[in-house]
Subunit: 1022 residues, 2 copies
Amino acid sequence: MTTTPDISVLSISSVKDYQTKDASPSLDNDLIIDIIDKQGIIPDVILEQEFNDIVNIFNKSNDDFASFSKYFINKDNDEGLILLSKVINLIYLKKREIQLKSISDSSSSIINEVIQQGDLQIFITNQITNNSAIDKQYLDLGATNLKDFHIEVFTTSLENISIIVASTNPKDSIKSEFNSKIVDSINKSSSSLKKKSGPFLKFVTSAENHQEHRLIISYSKNSTTKFFQLFNQLLKFYDITFSKVHIESYSSDLLLLSFYFNREDNEHISDLMTTLNQILKETSLIYCLPLAHDAFAKKPSEDDEDKNFRLSPQESSYFNIASTFIYHFIDRLSFTNNGSDILAENKNASNSHIADILTSYQQILKQQCFSELLIENVLNKYKKLVVKLFKNFALKHYPKDQNQSGLNLTISYQRLVNGIEPFQDDLEFDEYLKSNVDDQSADYLILKSLKRFNDAVLKTNFFSNDKLAVSFRLDPSKIFDGNSLIFPEIPYGVFFVVGSHFRGFHIRFHDIARGGIRIVKSYNDASYEINKRAMLEENYNLAYTQQKKNKDIPESGSKGVILLKIGHTSERDSKIAFERYCDSIIDILDFGSDKYIDLLGKREILFFGPDENTATLCDFATEYAKSRGCSWWKSFLTGKSASLGGIPHDEYGMTSLSVRSFVENIYKQKGLFDKTLVKFQTGGPDGDLGSNEILLSSDNEVYAAIVDGSGTIVDAEGLDKDELKKLAKNRQTVDHFDKSKLSKSGFFVSIKDKNVKVPSPVTKTEVTIADGMVFRNKFHSEFLFQFIEKIDVFVPCGGRPASINLNNIDLYIDSKTGKSKIPVIVEGANLFITQDCRLKLEAAGCTLVKDSSANKGGVTSSSLEVLASLSLNDADFVERFVSNKDGFYDQYVKYIQQTISENARLEFEQLWKLSQSTGTPISILSDDLSKAINSLNDDLLESIDELFVSQAEFREHLLIEKIIPKVLFEISTESKENVLNNIPVNYQNAMISVYLASRYVYKYGTEVNMGKFLGFISELKN
Amino acid sequence: MTTTPDISVLSISSVKDYQTKDASPSLDNDLIIDIIDKQGIIPDVILEQEFNDIVNIFNKSNDDFASFSKYFINKDNDEGLILLSKVINLIYLKKREIQLKSISDSSSSIINEVIQQGDLQIFITNQITNNSAIDKQYLDLGATNLKDFHIEVFTTSLENISIIVASTNPKDSIKSEFNSKIVDSINKSSSSLKKKSGPFLKFVTSAENHQEHRLIISYSKNSTTKFFQLFNQLLKFYDITFSKVHIESYSSDLLLLSFYFNREDNEHISDLMTTLNQILKETSLIYCLPLAHDAFAKKPSEDDEDKNFRLSPQESSYFNIASTFIYHFIDRLSFTNNGSDILAENKNASNSHIADILTSYQQILKQQCFSELLIENVLNKYKKLVVKLFKNFALKHYPKDQNQSGLNLTISYQRLVNGIEPFQDDLEFDEYLKSNVDDQSADYLILKSLKRFNDAVLKTNFFSNDKLAVSFRLDPSKIFDGNSLIFPEIPYGVFFVVGSHFRGFHIRFHDIARGGIRIVKSYNDASYEINKRAMLEENYNLAYTQQKKNKDIPESGSKGVILLKIGHTSERDSKIAFERYCDSIIDILDFGSDKYIDLLGKREILFFGPDENTATLCDFATEYAKSRGCSWWKSFLTGKSASLGGIPHDEYGMTSLSVRSFVENIYKQKGLFDKTLVKFQTGGPDGDLGSNEILLSSDNEVYAAIVDGSGTIVDAEGLDKDELKKLAKNRQTVDHFDKSKLSKSGFFVSIKDKNVKVPSPVTKTEVTIADGMVFRNKFHSEFLFQFIEKIDVFVPCGGRPASINLNNIDLYIDSKTGKSKIPVIVEGANLFITQDCRLKLEAAGCTLVKDSSANKGGVTSSSLEVLASLSLNDADFVERFVSNKDGFYDQYVKYIQQTISENARLEFEQLWKLSQSTGTPISILSDDLSKAINSLNDDLLESIDELFVSQAEFREHLLIEKIIPKVLFEISTESKENVLNNIPVNYQNAMISVYLASRYVYKYGTEVNMGKFLGFISELKN
């Protein structure tokens, strides 16, 4: 697509060219010497001599001492020199200490000193691989220091002590124009680079002396953890030492690390080139999965057989990923096979028998919650086997680059390190397992699950260099087996993502599916444990329910869940996690790319949506997909802002439109338009549903009370509607209601009020409200009818789920007549009323529409938003649609609004007709309709081709005349054919079958019989 | 009961009298100075002067430097002085370092240096409260150093650095005769002290100068962890500084610590006396529960409100104990109330409904496994509330010592520290809870459970000073509620013990109950987690099944479980844990003692038995109980050796006797004595059952095959019995069988053999055995009938449970006739055959007696062992019974053996009669008999008094004539009355009711009807 800047044509220089030509004063020795003297630590008889020894421990060839001392001399007063001498003194003292301990015993002492003063920090250490201070303070996600900084590492000849200078003083960080050229080139190229935020790895050799190599790594500032420490361990793993390190942070939050290696102190490495190259590859894993590697940082304790069996970064990444996978999938796997056969055993469970079931069942669960810790222990125990499986994994998923050499190189390189062969086939694996592991133990299960992981991976970006996280496309039939209690259906596709501070899943039930991506944060160990444990299920259940909700639209249900690690709860953590989640999934959606092996073998397209903690990230993700050049960037996400072609629900009241359509169809049906109706609403003018409900309110409605985040406003004589509409337009809570427009029996109680008196017209007394918060929370469940005699319609537009439940349902039913006090309820807010209370209210004569029917508007709108972005090409999409060229955008919005009202009307009439004829309550009919539509839909989808055997133009007729909005053809400058071709075939099929299924059910009811359906089809034909 | 040595009459001296009079050469300064010079660290222009400064940092008043340098001068070469100067140099360097860092910044530096050479170790540190080296190397359980040692701590004036010298050189540890007097007095007093191993705490003031106090602590060497560190933190908590410390270890594995305090550097403490006294009390908790206190070692991070709210050791012990309790009991409590009401909701659960149950049930379990970590977090969060509850706990259980002052002192002392009041009553607690904690959260549950803990404690040794662990007697009705699935019955009594490296329970179902104490070790984190989680239940179920087994004896079932902390798996850890478990339980069995408050209000007596990991500790525990002066020491434990009055099962083949009695009654019944029967046995001559089975084998039996730990021996023509008896006498496995006595078709295959050829007479071919181990494991389930044509009797005396199960049962049934191939099976080994295979074998015509009937001999023997030890007084017990005076011991053993055979005969005849008349299989009848006996027994126990209303002599007649063996009256020198009075009344009742119940059932079958029982009673009367 685009080229990377070829920076090797730039003239490269070496370490030397950090000496800048400009004359900066050098250190005059006498001044420093007598400052040292004044500090009186080194006796002055040896002072001169000691000073020189210390100067000489610095590396002479690129005369480090000079550049070291530069940090101290250009301070405006001689404070710098005092610091320098403190450092020299400390070095002297440590030298003595070493000398001291070397007298007759061998324990090398650990040196780890820090001196800091103002914006300078100096570390003297001989444990650079264990030193986490640099990471914690400067590089890490959530690093303590936030200013720009410049870090330089000096190696010395003293007991491999190295001296690190870190300064946040801008003057010190003279950017060598060489580097800034790099940075500019990174920033400035013709079109934006593929992805700014990934690690940029480059490797150069200097022009003059070929013995010197430089490794340049740059990535966006603190976007990972422990990088410096881990990178050092990586060097140590390959037994390479650097002569110098520069770390610079740039204002455009880019971080540049450059490591210098020169030949003569890496003699024992046969070919430095390939080693450094290999190091490059593994750096990207370090960047992605830092935690995976401190596992291998532990010094190999002596007891496991021979010392040289260290895991490489790739292997330990695999390790870490494997144990995460096993943790989530293991007690699903084994559990299924004996939960349901507990059940099968006990077909007709009598009572006592259930007790046994529960007991034995519990035993199982107890043995089965394998903590991740345990899983790691087991994997450690069978390290060889895990490495063998990794090899199989690599053989299957290592992408073939231009020449085959990469893999052989990698693997062959591995072999001579620890000489382990992959398994030939499943049989060899089973034998190996049976012979080494007792087949009744937990280990056996854990290792089988690992094997299962390998078999389930269809695509992965594990082996690509520019990944931000590691993602896997799994084959669901290999990890779910369908007849388990908890996972009744096998999903269609599952994605598994592991990142630096998060893990994530994405589950969908049909090829074409849509659903929100939610980010879960946990605030303490316990809740993290609980979230971790429930993560997969929650994801599954959310996708599963989503499916029921999408009955009118072509996309079935899907859902993504991202779990942030404990301690990462900031806004930024979420953004980074979300970015990497999307990025790594996009990596393996890119059909036909050579960065991964595709065992699925067909094009996939995902549709994400906003959800908990991601609502604000939708634009960003869309831009991001666009910047990655995804052809489907337009339809990637819904919930984006209008400037990106999003159709925001709250602006056009999409959800409220379906609520209103039900409300008004009820009015028409019961002839209520010519009466004034007293209305109660929860959820205020600041919310999406609340504000639009007010704005779309019909004239026969008078508001008696509204409850929202700020408090409760009540006026039995009716709240002033214009005032309410004003609030709704400005999205203000009701505490902004102009109190003077309240009647004398009206009042407002804010959640902060304590002990206020308010009039209660019903009982003709004054009531004191003890606590505004409680009043607001329990207004609908306790106080409502004390203040308003009669309510004709109640539209909940906000409120916690199960706000009306069995404990407080009696308030809504008149105990004298057994009738429901409120004749009409349309449930806008999700699950505001529990199902069994819905049935009670209906049995008491209330006309009630449940949430999954009432608030479908949003779903429909998002779906048509997707359709628009699929059927228009980029040009039309931006210039004619998004820019609303002569009102195209508005026309489309209007069309969506009509469709929402139309669908609601069709559904309502069918619900009403059925409930009148069969007497079944609407809350049940609504589920029956969904079931009927979904199962008819499944039938049609599964045999969509036979359906149109040799009648292709009937199929086209359906798509063009009945399904795709005409306005899209006007917006598009292409012919109708091309518009159709823009839409993926499997999306067309989904559109057709859901159209046929829903129209049939809304017309003929839930009884699907052969003759009627055929009649219906032939009607459509002519 | 006995006195403690009053050591205050001994003349006490002070620190000074460590200067010994004997002339030991002092340090000559010049020699040391030029050694220092040679090491060339201190420039010699300042050498002299520096040396003196360093000498002066030592405490002059008791001129420490001299005694410090003594450690270095009396080495046979000047190696010591070199070490001394290294130390001096190091001190010099650290002094400089401090001086250096004090130049313009404030971070105090941490100094933590160690120099060691030969048998001397010197620590220079200013972090003495964080220093765990002394503990890890010298004091801890599992300390690295095992030699005798002497430790001295010098405080210096340099930046509160203190210098610690630890030497394992015997010469250095001159025991001041003052101390050795103490030690002798500890060892030697008139009768043995109560318990050697508890901490001995004493507090003295020196004779000459009253400003100096000494705290002496002595306990057995490394019997706790982190004591030194924790004690220092305790001093810091009370803000006390010591001037000097001596730690000495004595050969009699006693450890003596003495801390010196002098007035002027503790001015700010108002009255030093009481503070030190308080410290004494809390030392015992530190000793018992070291882990509990490093929780409070964490510096109080700033975020919890104000700094001075530190927990005292008592509170944090309570803390630690509480969270352990909550962990084990919480998901029982809450679980019960909604598991069974899951059930109650679903009285007649149809199939799909079960799925919902399992799912919702699983959710519950998921939310409910509260890790201990979480519980601690919650307790930390509501620290105030926990402290208040501790106060209630203290008010209820603080024993009243002579004068009331102790408590007020303690509590009042507490109040002025953190001024927190206990709760007035339950109501105040509930309000406090409701107002501060959301009643739907996990916190609510955790705190309620803590409250429940307080209500359930009936007795505890928490507040006594000489406890080795903390024990609680809990009221079961407050912590179990009876209708839960997992705990169907509420136990009669529960003990809860928390110790340094273990926790333990003891559960019993009737007042008089007996059962084994098992110690559970865990070898890795995961298995520890699992054992921890399953601990309570396992204990409950073991006690519950034990109850069924004890149907013929007066004691019902009980069980104790001790879980060792992870990492403590050595033999010694078990011994210490067991000792402390018994000791702390004995503490609160001591009826009427003033060391604890007794809310139970009646005498309790426990009967322990051997179990996993405790079989070898029975003697020790018996001795221990004796040494504690427990009147019931004799009956405390069974499984003890004969020298302590134990009747070892294996020596007298008690279990085998009941097995044999069944075998021979079957022979008599089926008239098999005059036939030669081919016998097969699993479990060899080395086992208890195996050897006695061989020794008691009747003449009509010929052994065809035996399987044991060493392999498999087979001879179709019959194994030479004398040879077998020889092996049985010597307890040797069958590999010691003299091969020459095998017939030509006989053979032996050891478990180590690979690919041996053996003859198979049945198929008249030779067979090659691939693997001896597999051959042995699967001989009974696969190969048996290939080598032996026909087997008449099979007595399994060893083998894993469920060795015959549904997978291999077909081998035992002749597929042609459907008949069982082996006509007689008596199941000696526990659960060798699964219940449904027992039924299959019986249905196939096999006469089979199941384990719970066949191997009751051991239980009966232990019970009569207990009876002997209850009814004889100590004198008769030792001189006439244990010493087997004119064969009394042997007579009793013979009586036990007859009773065992007699009981088995009675049970067999009833089983046989019933199975002939009703056709029910014996394996079921055996359970029916147990149930009938147990429920009749419960009825009789519950109304035992009405039973003997005004017919006391009938009761006596039963006890003396029918129940208590006559031989006991002969052994006893006391009258029959007194013998009866020796036996606790509730034990007599248990004896009577089990006698009536079992005799009735064995005579009249399981049908208990009123008339027959009365007839039975009146029969007994005349």
